[in-house]
Symmetry: C2
Subunit: 154 residues, 2 copies
DNA sequence: CGCAATTCAATTGCGCACAATCTAATTACG
DNA sequence: CGTAATTAGATTGTGCGCAATTGAATTGCG
């Protein structure tokens, strides 16, 4: 698989590979969501909500915009999602006093406390995907670099 | 990054890595969709519709179930999607005569013809993600293997 | 044969994703 | 200062993604 391929032949091959990569990333992302779903259900979180909570556990009291940048989501997705988290009693939404355009999202005590249970979930996932640390790290780096290249061309 | 880590210390590290992998795959999948979107717009296809069309270009006249297995989608997603493709004049939906539970999806001439334009899109993506063949192949294999491990545990 | 279990697709309901549009607040500039 | 441009967030509309339910067709088993 590592030999040089004549340019003419490589074209069709490249297209095929690209297509396979499409399918692979699409399938893997959904498999991830499906694997998380039953584990997150006891916490009352969906997978995107879980990602938002992680962002808040790492850094509390962020504006909606900051969360959106971190996850690549816009207000159209986050506004209703955050309202659901608020209704679940996990976060608070408060206008910033200095800049009233901002809505700052902060954790409630209940939201903070949920972190411990979430750690168990993360650990369970680690076993479910069952890959070595190096393999996981390499995959993470490859995906991040892929994304950066795509975002740059945008 | 490749040194052995004491077991006690590795636990927190592993959780962190896992979380990062979550974010990475989530972000990369959406970046893929976003990159494809403007390229597919001239063809009148969304990204999931494009994946369905690829499945049909590779193998025409498939039952809904077969397409679902290929893409990991159920009838709740595919039924309306296929109706939209039918309304666009790209596919036909016909009950199988021998087994009337099956709905067979086949390409119209318009649907078949679209393949040529789609090849251009795939080529354009290849440039957008701009990774070498080996890198793409390795990523594809890592994702497929990751997905298989997750699906197996389900 | 006859009835139960299975299989396939469609439908319903909920929750993302994202483009487009809107409103309000802030900043920039003449 | 005052108006234009920018920024943040909410809203609307379309299209997935999936669980749960439904209904029709087929298969399996006594």
């Amino acid at each position: 698989m590592k030999e040089k391929v004549p340019a003419a032949a490589s074209q069709g091959f490249e297209i095929k590979l690209n297509t396979q990569l499409c399918f692979a990333i699409y399938g893997a992302a959904h498999a991830f969501t499906r694997t998380y779903k039953p584990l997150l259900e006891p916490l009352g979180l969906t997978y995107p909500q879980y990602l938002v909570m992680i962002a808040l556990w790492e850094d509390d009291d962020q504006p909606v915009k900051a969360i959106g940048d971190r996850l690549g989501l816009d207000s159209g997705t986050l506004s209703p999602l955050l309202k659901r988290l608020e209704q679940s009693g996990l976060v608070l939404r408060k206008r910033d006093r200095d800049d009233e355009r901002l809505v700052r999202i902060s954790l409630t005590e209940k939201g903070s406390d949920l972190r411990l249970q979430a750690l168990d979930v993360t650990e369970a996932i680690g076993k479910a995907i069952g890959c070595g640390l190096e393999e996981a790290a390499a995959l993470r780096d490859a995906l991040i670099s892929l994304r950066e290249r795509m975002d740059d061309r945008d």
